[in-house]
Assembly symmetry: C2
Homo-oligomer: 668 residues x 2
């Protein structure tokens, strides 16, 4: 079908709504939506499989606006095709409590598939969605039952492709041959500092071909070429697709066309008028869209309802043909774990030999993976160290998408963005591992998981200077503390195998926000004191692991992770000196902060002001619990390369030093 | 010259020392050094321009071991060629306080050019060094005086090239045509999880060609091919060089050759014996190297001394021909700022209109740049927002390397690694800007700057929820606090234009560690209270900005950045209610912690326990200063999209709310 006048009006409607909403807000990014309006129109009216009446339909195509600053493009499309974003919402663009914030914020009932804005993240989210779709298709599709059979589309910008995460996720997508991925590259030659010639002159198509992608290069304002390229992509199996679209930022604006000035500022009333005239727009009334244009877009509703109805019919037949699979699929898409899964959580016996919490984690994870088929994940090339491999459950690869072990490669940030995409997709519970020190690389993605409240689990092992010989580059010091500053992220640093098991159980019970497990490289004893208390203790965040052995309480010793056993030893030594110390294990600050005051006070009695915290990491936040009269045995400097037993002594994590610091506190 | 038997012994010496040192430490990564021994030998004996007797010689070639886990390769080369790393040091590999830690740690007097280990960082450091070399050559070389005329070599691994930062820095290096860069890619097909086929199948040569690099592919064990490839690279101008070397990890080991088991574990006594036999090594004695091999390597000393002497002679003539340039160069290489540079620091008048601290920073920076010719930097495509552009000082580009503005592109982490490389190179003072929220992307590089104590300056603007409409993805909440947890990093959040000027002055005076400036997007008044005190106040980290206006002191109000003006307003309102509050401006926690106790107590009197901190960010660490009886007006949740005035009210940063919280504190 050639382009009609109605099509042209539909394209320009995106430009007009964008200009007007941004002008009204006096804030926003008009350039990209105006430049990509042709592509978006063709995609949304001719290809995108979606149902505005049911944004949660599992077999919908996903649309990711990786260049999230162009949010008005997405909001315009959602409004026009009939999602619960109304014209009134567009007029509230970027206002308090509106449905149309500055950058798209994940809200599936509005049709917003992911939060974007930090560049490159949406690119990686889409790759994760495509991996999830491939995996679920392999698990649930059956002959004649293509339950998962759709595409992941994204618009990616120059900025997205400059970001390293686009390399990481792009290279992995090529390796995996994710042919359900169709990305449009908005090649507009403009970034904030001006022409991309100042910093970005790589041959993007050649780069993506080197990753194994199928690449097409088109004029992004050529209606037929856009349509043809999407068709070609769909007909080319075995590779992800990049459609490089040469576009002009702020297309249609007489004075801001091709200018970086159109990137992040309103065009201005006068320029909007001139643009509307240049585009032949029928009215200068702000937010005016001809009714026939809205009606044309709204054909998405009956089309979507029809498509979903056919799929629901397929599901009905599937339920009859494959009742078990259907039940499992429903359960998984509902986000419910299998009944009785908790029974798979191991309880470690007190006669177990000492074991690192990363090893305990491996045992827990492997046991849970048997009970929870949706539990999938991997590591950024550190599975043998992170102990994240799911034995016997296969590798996810192009020819084995049913595998549950994901090899992310040395791509921590890419892994983070991909995990978010997999979690967003649904039907999966995902985890990803690397060394704790490299949580730094993942931080931008972890922040977005927290912002979106995605139930992603991070397995961050080698959690302190006890890394030893690898030295300061590999020894986290400030990481655990600084992760505690991220809202909505629950950090758990278990003290032994049973706290580790409890941490995994807690993490899986969490459906609203990521959980980070901080696990040791070195062996730790299974603590008798924690055997019965670990589960409630982890859930409550802090608990009395061992109360004063004397008839008096002089001091609180508060510790996490591998320092708890040192605190217990110090408690004994202090008792010999007639000092009554209580040992508090505090695996999760966030969980503790969620407890009622009476519980908090029962663990930390108000009148006990002598408090010593022990944690092999930054002391920064500990004063919240120890107060100005307390002290912290911590590390406010970088680590060193040496056997960890040596570092333990040099850095003061022995019971003897804890006792010394405690006595100093008591005599002050 | 064809390979001799002595050459072969020299190559194998690297393998032998690596195996033995790692075995003795019972820890380390033998595979890479054994695989790259041929390349390293050819480079270090036939090409590398260096003087083991003067590792600081400015015109030396730089050698970066980006794959830092192969540290024994570097230590072996340094020992053999005669740097102050002795055989005894190799025997102390990975031990406490040794010169040979697990991963290379920057120590120029030992010949270690940068700290590596976190993958991809060394790749970016090398790009920064190459940029610095180009810039200094453009500034100081003259006809007949090629003072800066050398190469930057690096060994990069599969892991380095999987990391996104290698894309960011690689793409920029190609854009800039850095032909002084010669990188060897250790293409050994092995990563920790096994064959790179599990995750990394991109066409690396094609990828780098797409970036604009000149790429050669060779057998990394072919002596003549290695030599020829380096020669070809040197003769091919206008492009950076990648020499992809197909190698075998743990080359020579009968059972661990080509196995991921050789990556990160000692080979074992028996396998070492078998390997030495297979290599035809003349002795099984650990650490034995034939004296003639050592002697052959030590030819580096006379060769280096001769080369440096010639260069020093050139410098002598240069001093005569270009005395001013020579004096400036000496000063810059010594790390001394120009005499009187402080006079260029603006003092803002109290009748100045309100201005954002990012705008104040722009004025300060531009004034300083006139006085300090070595001050160079740029932004990750946000110069117009970060206000980092140096007006009239030109852009650093392939055809204008004398320019002082660097366009890093949307590559925050790459920028961080490049800034480190530029700072390592010497002769420059560097800064880099992005939004504060994207400091998350830079964190792995900022950590290395801190670990190496490099004087890098970060200009992180848009430092709070006052970003406003762009919403939570662009609003830092936890960043400022979590940066305070990084050892050696000084974070400064100035309250007005004069504190900003003082912060820049402090940052430039700092020679041992990075400084981060947290600057506002929104306008702030120039505070009369700070006009005289800002300089000492910033240097001391916290100071009494405005003492209680009453005859009594009931309360401390502690604030940073844009919240200081709110605290001042609250102080007035409290005085009306007969509450005497002191306002403490606390731009830098790190600087305050360095003060003597008496100063600390003079600002925070011990007996005043009612303390309220006000900062638009995470409260995590504030209890150190306010104690358990204090409180914090902060933000422990994500931000929102709305005009910032609205966010200010909703999130409680008004004087009225501060008063309310203060009164609550006083009545508790």
């Amino acid at each position: 079908m050639p382009k009609t006048n109605l099509d042209q009006l539909g394209i320009n409607a995106l430009r007009v709504l964008t200009m007007d909403a941004i002008q009204k807000a006096n804030s926003g990014h008009p350039g990209m939506p105006m430049g990509m309006a042709d592509v978006a129109y063709v995609l949304w009216t001719r290809h995108l499989k979606h149902n505005p009446r049911d944004p949660r339909w599992p077999d919908r195509d996903r649309f990711v606006l990786s260049a999230g600053h162009g949010s008005m493009l997405l909001y315009s499309l959602l409004y026009l095709t009939g999602y619960p974003i109304l014209l009134e919402d567009l007029k509230q663009f970027r206002q308090w409590d509106s449905r149309t914030p500055g950058h798209p914020e994940y809200e599936i009932d509005l049709g917003i598939e992911t939060t974007t804005g930090p560049l490159g993240q949406g690119f990686a989210n889409g790759v994760g969605m495509a991996m999830a779709a491939k995996h679920l298709a392999a698990r649930f599709n059956r002959p004649q039952f293509p339950l998962f059979d759709h595409y992941i589309y994204a618009i990616v910008s120059d900025g997205d492709l400059m970001e390293g995460v686009s390399h990481e996720a792009g290279s992995l997508a090529g390796h995996l041959g994710l042919d359900n991925l169709i990305y449009f590259y908005d090649d507009n030659h403009i970034s904030i500092e001006g022409d991309t010639q100042v910093a970005f002159t790589e041959d993007v198509p050649a780069r993506f071909r080197a990753y194994g992608w199928h690449v097409q290069e088109i004029d992004g304002h050529d209606f037929d070429a856009i349509d043809a390229a999407i068709r070609t992509a769909k007909q080319t199996p075995g590779q992800p697709h990049l459609i490089a679209c040469r576009t002009h930022i702020a297309f249609g604006s007489p004075h801001k066309h091709d200018s970086e000035k159109a990137h992040g500022s309103p065009l201005g009333e006068e320029e909007i008028r001139l643009t509307k005239e240049a585009l032949g727009w029928p009215s200068l009334e702000p937010f005016f869209v001809p009714p026939e244009v809205v009606a044309h877009y709204r054909l998405a509703i009956p089309a979507g309802e029809q498509a979903e109805a056919a799929w629901q019919e397929l599901m009905t037949q599937y339920r009859q043909a494959y009742p078990e699979e259907a039940a499992e699929l429903h359960r998984r898409l509902d986000g419910q774990l299998p009944a009785g899964w908790e029974k798979a959580v191991p309880h470690f016996r007190l006669d177990s030999p000492p074991l690192a919490t990363r090893v305990a984690s491996q045992q827990v994870l492997n046991s849970l993976a048997q009970a929870i088929p949706e539990l999938v994940g991997g590591s950024a090339d550190l599975a043998p160290s992170n102990k994240t491999y799911l034995a016997g459950l296969g590798d996810f690869q192009q020819d084995s998408p049913e595998g549950r072990n994901f090899h992310f490669g040395v791509r921590e940030l890419g892994m983070g963005g991909i995990l978010n995409g997999m979690a967003l997709y649904g039907g999966l519970r995902v985890f990803g591992g690397t060394f704790m020190v490299f949580s730094d690389y993942m931080r931008p993605a972890a922040r977005l998981a927290a912002l979106m409240k995605l139930p992603v689990i991070y397995v961050w092992t080698h959690d302190s200077i006890y890394v030893g010989e690898d030295g300061p580059t590999h020894e986290p010091v400030e990481q655990v503390m600084s992760l505690r500053a991220i809202p909505n992220l629950t950090v758990i640093r278990p003290a032994d195998a049973n706290e580790t098991a409890a941490a995994w159980q807690y993490a899986l019970e969490q459906r609203h926000g990521p959980v980070a497990l901080a696990l040791t490289r070195q062996k730790l004893p299974v603590l008798p004191e924690a055997a019965d208390k670990a589960w409630e203790g982890v859930a409550r965040g802090a608990y009395v692991l061992s109360d004063s052995p004397l008839n008096r309480l002089d001091l609180l010793l508060i510790a996490t992770g591998s320092e708890v056993v040192e605190a217990l030893a110090a408690q004994k030594l202090l008792a010999e000196r007639n000092v009554g110390a209580r040992v508090i294990s505090m695996p999760s600050w966030e969980n503790f902060e969620r407890q009622p005051v009476f519980y908090k006070l029962s663990v930390f009695p108000e009148h006990i002001t002598r408090r010593l915290a022990i944690e092999a990491g930054a002391t920064l936040g500990w004063y919240r619990y120890v107060g100005r009269k307390g002290a912290v045995v911590g590390i406010d400097h970088f680590g060193a390369s040496a056997p960890y037993q040596k570092l333990r002594e040099e850095f003061g994590f022995t019971p003897e030093n804890i006792v010394e610091q405690a006595l100093k506190l008591l005599t002050e």
